[in-house]
Symmetry: C2
């Protein structure tokens, strides 16, 4: 008998469907019924594995968070120069925006119309703190006179590329962003 792959668990199929549907169409647009039908799962399995829709949304965003960090890590590992690492973050972004189905930042989309204390907003803040810290650490390590200022400018450029590429449905913004980042990194004074 050939190599047979065991059917994933209901939990895994749910997370997979959530990742696809929530990202492509929005966490509030996609209802439970759509979700379980796409996942091929009974409704009871959803509430057995998760406490509710919010819990599933949180798990979906946590997965996005983890994979985004992993993507950045993959692009920066092996590099020693912190300036190179900062630029590599934009390579990771370029990979993301050119991947099929790109639809902008999952956190931004989900929390665009969510309450400030919602799971969506909390997930966005969690990611945001990590990302801001990463930029600040690298800018400090690189010896810039104003590391917080450099990090802030790079973050603005990063945000701009994410927004632009989604609005215009065109991935070129990531390349523009890397050029701008290089310009900023070269223009900023170092100690």
């Amino acid at each position: 008998m050939g190599v047979t792959t065991k059917r994933p668990s209901a939990r895994e199929r749910l997370l997979d469907a959530a990742d696809r549907l929530f990202y492509a169409e929005g966490v509030h647009t996609v209802g439970i019924d759509r979700l379980i039908e796409e996942a091929g799962v009974a409704k009871g399995s959803l509430f057995y594995n998760f406490s509710g829709k919010d819990d599933l949304v949180a798990a979906y965003l946590a997965g996005r968070d983890e994979r985004r960090r992993a993507r950045i890590a993959r692009h920066t590992e092996g590099l020693t120069d912190p300036v190179e690492k900062l630029l590599a973050i934009f390579d990771a972004l370029h990979e993301a925006v050119t991947s099929p189905g790109w639809n902008g930042c999952a956190f931004a989309n989900a929390s665009a119309e969510a309450a400030p204390d919602s799971v969506e907003a909390v997930a966005q803040r969690t990611y945001r703190v990590w990302f801001s810290d990463l930029l600040l650490e690298l800018a400090t390590e690189a010896g810039y006179a104003d590391p917080a200022g450099v990090a802030g400018r790079l973050r603005l450029i990063y945000d701009g590329a994410v927004a632009s590429s989604r609005i215009d449905a065109h991935p070129a913004a990531a390349l523009v962003a890397k050029d701008l980042a290089r310009l900023v990194l070269e223009a900023a004074p170092r100690t």
Copy 2:
């Protein structure tokens, strides 16, 4: 008898409530009942003046569009140098992000989880085309060797400031954006 202001029409009160509630809490979060209660209007008046919620959403976004264009016009009028006009756009942005209740781009928020052919997405595209054309015209007028490139960079910076200021709930991004815009405008070659 003193100066009495006549009570605005149901239509005006609806548009006013829509502008406040839709912008602050989201077009899909706020339902009709919330809206008519806040406006002090009967439900019948909503459907008398508008064909439905979508129509009201479209009117809300059209109003935002008009006021944003007016704000930019107010900041650029009187200026002759196209480079100054480009920089003045970021002054208009600064005014917007520092105004009370700032909650990011109304179009971006509304269309973050909306279908591509929804009234939200259409309104966003309409505004986007106008804004892109404006930047391109000014960059061309300024005599840059690559006006489309300059316009694209400025647009990315603008988008970044809008996104950053919302995510971090901090208006400083607009100032950072203007500095970056100046850097771009000074670094770009002119014919």
